[in-house]
Symmetry: C2
DNA sequence: TATTGTTATACTCTATAACTATA
DNA sequence: TATAGTTATAGAGTATAACAATA
């Protein structure tokens, strides 16, 4: 008897990749009306924190190249969604703040994302989605 | 009382994206010695089927653009891992076959992937990984 | 010396359109 | 007319290195 062969669909890593391939266009589609793409939405949604993040902070936490981040922040600033303010105690940094138009845009983006997630994760139950979320959190801890 | 705000880390879609960002380099690293990248490994691993697939078959199932597939198959063929054979009943198609060197390369790639998956999914238990796998399968069904 | 943000640039990647051959 | 595979190419996306300002 020969050993059982591992097929690609038995690789959880492959399924993660495939799911990502389907997920990204779904998110993009949900955001087009707002002149946002996936990445600029992630940045916009990350700015509203207790202490305003710098560009490098966001680059690290969102795994975006710092030079790419410049263009993303440029775009969000030109849309009037965020403002760059020099950090007083470290004048190399910009503190990124949500502008009023950004608060509104983010609220609309979150509504759009609610729809995207509801649709995308529709095939699994609410409790299954919570399980999935917890497993993803575990896998992302310390990375 | 204000409504609770949705943070990015509460979005399962965001976690899927982040996990993918970490996963891809891990797979690439595991395959470098074999002169394969993630995509060519996926193609190589998909060829060994009961009936040999065509390039378009693989393009559809792996969500790779058909014109991109040409280059991937070119590369695998030049490595001596696969062979293109004209389909006898539809001479527009190529049947893609694993060459002997490809059987060997695939076996080594699978061993490398075993290590990658063991390491990457190390933070969760075997039964949690099975749950994750099942949830991903559910989400990918019919898409 | 190291870090933040920036620019320019080179590189890679991808997708579009147009083509050949076959159906 | 439609499909499989191919090519060329244009456009997008990304990363590298070098720089100014600040620490």
């Amino acid at each position: 008897m020969t050993s059982a062969k591992t097929t690609l669909t038995q690789r959880t890593g492959f399924l993660v990749h495939q799911l990502h391939c389907v997920l990204l266009p779904a998110i993009e589609d949900g955001l087009t009306d707002l002149e946002l793409d996936t990445r600029s939405y992630f940045v916009l949604a990350s700015i509203d924190q207790p202490t305003p993040p710098s560009q490098q902070d966001l680059a690290r936490s969102l795994r975006i190249d710092p030079t790419t981040m410049v263009a993303v922040v440029d775009q969000l600033e030109s849309l009037g969604y965020i403002t760059r303010m020099r950090n007083a105690s470290d004048r190399r940094r910009y503190d990124l703040h949500l502008a009023p138009a950004g608060v509104n845009a983010l609220a609309r983006a979150e509504k759009a994302m609610d729809v995207v997630e509801e649709d995308f994760f529709g095939p699994i139950s609410a409790s299954e989605k919570r399980s999935l979320h917890r497993l993803l959190e575990k896998l992302l801890a310390n990375r």
